[in-house]
Subunit: 247 residues, 2 copies
DNA sequence: TGCCTACTACAATATATATTATGGTCGCGC
DNA sequence: GCGCGACCATAATATATATTGTAGTAGGCA
């Protein structure tokens, strides 16, 4: 098995250890990888929804357009993520999805999910767990957007990205690439681009974050985490031992 | 079967038609109903998470406390809802949950969920669909909190509550009980209580919503929906025909 | 080389919402 | 019936962030 190369197996392994059979089942979700270019729109609201995408490489984001022309970015997808999980219950896309980078994606139809449900209890549980973790992530963002200052929003988001990258990339340092423009960050955080700029200036005056184009440096990770009032519990290791339970 | 009385079966029936066996499986989640009084805290952050609750009657909400003393209400639960789904992947509670009303709840352990996964593909799919719908709901709230005005936030939330009530309560009219104080509404919408009051005043000056204590009247549902830029697609009927797919 | 565009910084001003404060109403226990 | 507390309305003020405008820098391309 060339599982080394499979982001999705890395991703799932984070939740439980996988048998060969399960690995194969997962690998089958990554058939027919397709190159896809930066800026490409994977789908738009209202399109028929009958498949998921796994992201093998590159970044993507989902977003909504508002009536007044604003845009809200809902989620940023990293390699190993499954795009479109949220739409399992719907026949139409609820969000637009767009590539940030050049990347590679694999499509698999919703039906394959039912195969997983049928064939592997652990994978079913992990799918459920991934959904539940996505919700936790979203909840956290909701709290932040609703209640915290621009400064905290930025700090929180940047630290979250660091943690998420580290999850599939354990060797990541306190410097990494964040291929989002200030405008895109504004659209994630519900701020104006101008204010994102101001806030970056303020954060780097305080030595918390340095940003040079798409390169980010976080001198003191704990300080940033504190600034964003980050509560690790929704991302870190206390993911429950599912297999233990099913035994 | 006294399925008439089961909110949860009503809730699930919204997604697909159920066999007797499946109904029994669901009914088994509503064993040992417990009376529970208004204001009771079901659990708090950090508590061990190893069961879900079904809400047979009464309302509840989940919330988080912030460092500065603010509170953010994350979700409002209605009869028929399952509380704690989000925490399936975690061993600790991520949120506090509190009863708004007197009510009746039933506990069932996470393990029972695995039984469902094992015993019924359709119910597994519906569970997944419910999770996915919850996420859609959250997404919508996130967009609203991040990008819309206080007026829109209120209108959006009130209309959403109307739709959700109608789902298990098809005979609901444009008047219903909303047992939330202005302070609680503020905590849902990320506003100050004062501003909630102002906004109610403004909305009723425009004839959109009348509120007398916990009694709400919406003279023109479409107008309110429009005011909140409500996009029905995430709640209404286009839930996909899951059973059709699995065949 | 030089233009063009995307991205960024910063300043002036405008606006929505928070904060603080005060007073009013309703229901409830005594 | 009285007083107390929860809840709500409204006004005055304060503050964070948006909006608008202008200008600077870096990279892509002729």
């Amino acid at each position: 098995m060339n599982e080394e190369k499979s982001c999705i197996i890395k991703h799932f392994s984070h939740y439980c250890s996988l048998s060969e059979e399960e690995k194969n089942l997962l690998l089958s979700l990554e058939e027919s990888p397709t190159d896809i270019k930066s800026g490409t729109i994977l789908w738009e609201m209202g399109d028929a929804a009958n498949e998921f995408c796994t992201l093998k490489s590159g970044w993507a984001y989902s977003y909504r357009h508002l009536e007044n022309g604003d845009r809200q970015i809902l989620e940023v997808f990293l390699p190993g993520d499954i795009i479109g999980l949220r739409e399992f219950a719907f026949s139409e896309r609820l969000e637009n999805v767009r590539m940030i980078d050049d990347g590679v994606i694999c499509h698999f139809p919703h039906k394959r999910m039912l195969d997983i449900f049928r064939q592997s209890l652990p994978l079913t549980s992990v799918m459920f767990a991934i959904g539940s973790r996505q919700q936790a992530l979203m909840t956290e963002r909701l709290v932040t957007l609703a209640r915290r200052s621009a400064r905290q929003k930025m700090a929180h988001f940047l630290y979250e990205m660091y943690l998420r990258l580290r999850q599939t990339n354990p060797d990541i340092s306190n410097q990494f690439r964040l291929p989002l423009s200030q405008e895109q960050l504004a659209d994630v955080l519900g701020l104006s681009p101008v204010h994102v700029s101001r806030t970056f200036t303020a954060l780097s005056e305080d030595g918390l974050v340095f940003r040079d184009r798409h390169h980010l440096t976080i001198p003191d990770l704990d300080a940033l985490s504190y600034e964003g009032q980050f509560d690790d519990c929704y991302l870190t290791d206390n993911v429950r031992p599912l297999l233990g339970e099913s035994a």
